[in-house]
Symmetry: C2
Subunit: 353 residues, 2 copies
């Protein structure tokens, strides 16, 4: 079997399953259209912590603790954690996953981090380096505003192209076995813990810069990278949109979605029939005043885990391409007037009977 | 052959070689005791760019371009780039590696990033996901001061425990084949491009927090993580210091070195006879006023590439454990009075005849 496919894809040489997930979100996300799907909605966006940044760490802790609890695992079952967030020096991650005392690979791909973490974790498990691994990613509205924009108290007006950073953290447990329960457990119990979500292929994104400079239009900044990734993926695998039930981008929002569909059509790989976007799913833009949609590392992580993945688990969808998208900017690069390039990471998740 | 070893180590299932490296540094590093070893010393620490952050991106570009040039490779030979830096949102990396148009995994492990990138790249190549991959990491004194400390113009006094962020970027080319030259080249030419540096094992670090809060004593913050990694490694592999020619930490400096040696002795894994530290190698502390030594993602990357690796390549050293070390802090965590935990990543490099 060929492992390397085309320009940027790999077919995993051994099975890897998504065994459990957990999603922890803030108040606003809980009030949105998919609010009932999340594992935990906290009405206090500070999660009992002293600062927004520490609140984000608390969310990561909760998400991974919950996922481990649902799987019936102790943390030492995890050989590696792959984790990241949007803050400078990914500081929410350092304090978020520290107490689990597991070997850590810190990753950064802006809002595509959930895809990057899943890509690497799946590749590492499939290669036999680990039997189980976890991914944890997060974002926090107030922490992101402090990091990237203006003090919330200024009540700055938001352009319609802007997105709203999701307060949330998603954790995923990946394993080489289909069962959460160990081989020493009774067969009937093992069967109950069987996963139907298998990661089969990974496509890794390049940085794409079409010259966007508006940090309040991240959909436009990320859409070219998403289009590049999706078209590379379809070419590498020799597939079209007919072979998928959905292509789910991370946080392009309504502005980015239009650009993405146009670009994919122009590149000869239309995905109009099957495109979904986590950022357009998590909020009701009219009721919740979120402009173009949700964004942040947490957006794709919690929406996929709680809303889209159950459709695959139930067998309604047979094959999905999950494409978290990231805008590569920092307060410094923005203030210095640099462009906002984009990146995307793609993971194929299939239903297995 | 067992791939997973002990608590946190893996033995690579297939050979991976360091085929080429390149190191680009600033003026001060060029004036230090190993200044003659670097591939490029720029007397303009802005590298012709408009800001310190953009200068760091220029260094990354130069380092990878140089490494590719030395190997006689085009960028498209690389299936993946693993890259990172210290700045918020690893922004030097985004603009540093963008133009190579290769699939990118962004990584963050503070000053241990060079070790994390080498670990993942080696694991990915050994698993057959790539025939060739590159790692690129960097740091810049002035960019780091702006990010983490005070404006340089304040001329703040530096305590003796503080370290001096290295202005430098190191690039490494890894491959599954021992030869830079392809199979279609004449045998004699291939032989000239043969690597003798093979990566054999990887040990991945946990975050260790012993309660240090002094961001100007990063050696003390990182030493416990380095000790944990080194002792875990030696236990996992069933080895002692007798089995190594050197254990080379990233940037503990003179304060961190003392703590490391004490801790390793207490943990029953002494390394006194064979310990080296890149941070204590790159500067002359008396002549160059660098207090405890050099630090930053660039420190271990350029010192290993230019000073220590040639000893392995020449067969003087047969086996080395390379342990870049990182202090996990951000301007926000520091201002909020949080601890400074540490992390380390270990890679074994062996001479192969």
């Amino acid at each position: 079997m060929d492992i390397q496919l085309g320009e940027g894809s790999v077919r995993l040489p051994a099975p890897v399953y998504i065994l459990q997930t957990a999603s922890v979100v803030g108040k606003k996300e809980g009030e949105g259209p998919i609010g009932d799907c999340f594992d935990m909605v906290c009405t206090d966006d500070k999660f009992g912590a002293a600062s927004w940044e520490q609140a984000e760490s608390e969310m990561q802790k909760e998400a991974l603790t919950l996922a481990l609890g649902k799987a019936g695992w102790e943390a030492d079952r995890l050989r590696y954690i792959f984790a990241g967030d949007l803050l400078g020096q990914t500081i929410a991650t350092s304090f978020g996953v520290m107490d689990f005392l597991r070997p850590l690979f810190g990753v950064y791909g802006a809002c595509s981090t959930a895809g990057e973490a899943l890509s690497l974790a799946a590749m590492i498990v499939a290669a036999g380096y680990a039997d189980c691994a976890a991914t944890v990613t997060s974002s926090h509205f107030a922490g992101a505003e402090r990091q990237f924009r203006f003090p919330i108290e200024y009540a700055s007006q938001r352009p319609l192209s802007s997105t709203w950073t999701v307060t949330g953290s998603g954790a995923y447990l990946l394993g080489a076995s289909r069962y959460c329960a160990g081989e020493d457990e009774p067969e009937a119990k093992r069967e109950q813990t069987k996963s139907h979500c298998r990661i089969t292929e990974v496509t890794t994104g390049k940085i794409v810069d079409l010259g966007i400079r508006d940090a309040l239009n991240m959909g436009a900044a990320m859409a070219p990278a998403a289009a590049d990734l999706i078209c590379t993926h379809l070419r590498d695998l020799g597939r079209t949109q007919e072979d998928y039930d959905a292509v789910i981008t991370g946080d392009l929002g309504s502005v980015g979605k239009t650009i993405l569909l146009d670009l994919c059509r122009e590149l000869g790989c239309p995905i109009d029939r099957i495109h979904e976007d986590c950022g357009m799913t998590i909020y009701d833009p009219d009721e919740q005043h979120t402009c173009a949609g949700g964004s942040g590392c947490g957006c794709s992580a919690v929406t996929m885990a709680s809303y889209f993945l159950p459709r695959i688990e139930a067998g309604k969808w047979k094959r999905v391409l999950f494409v978290p998208t990231g805008a590569l900017l920092s307060p410094v690069s923005f203030n210095e007037g640099q462009n906002v390039p984009g990146i995307a990471h793609g993971v194929v998740i299939e239903y297995e009977e």
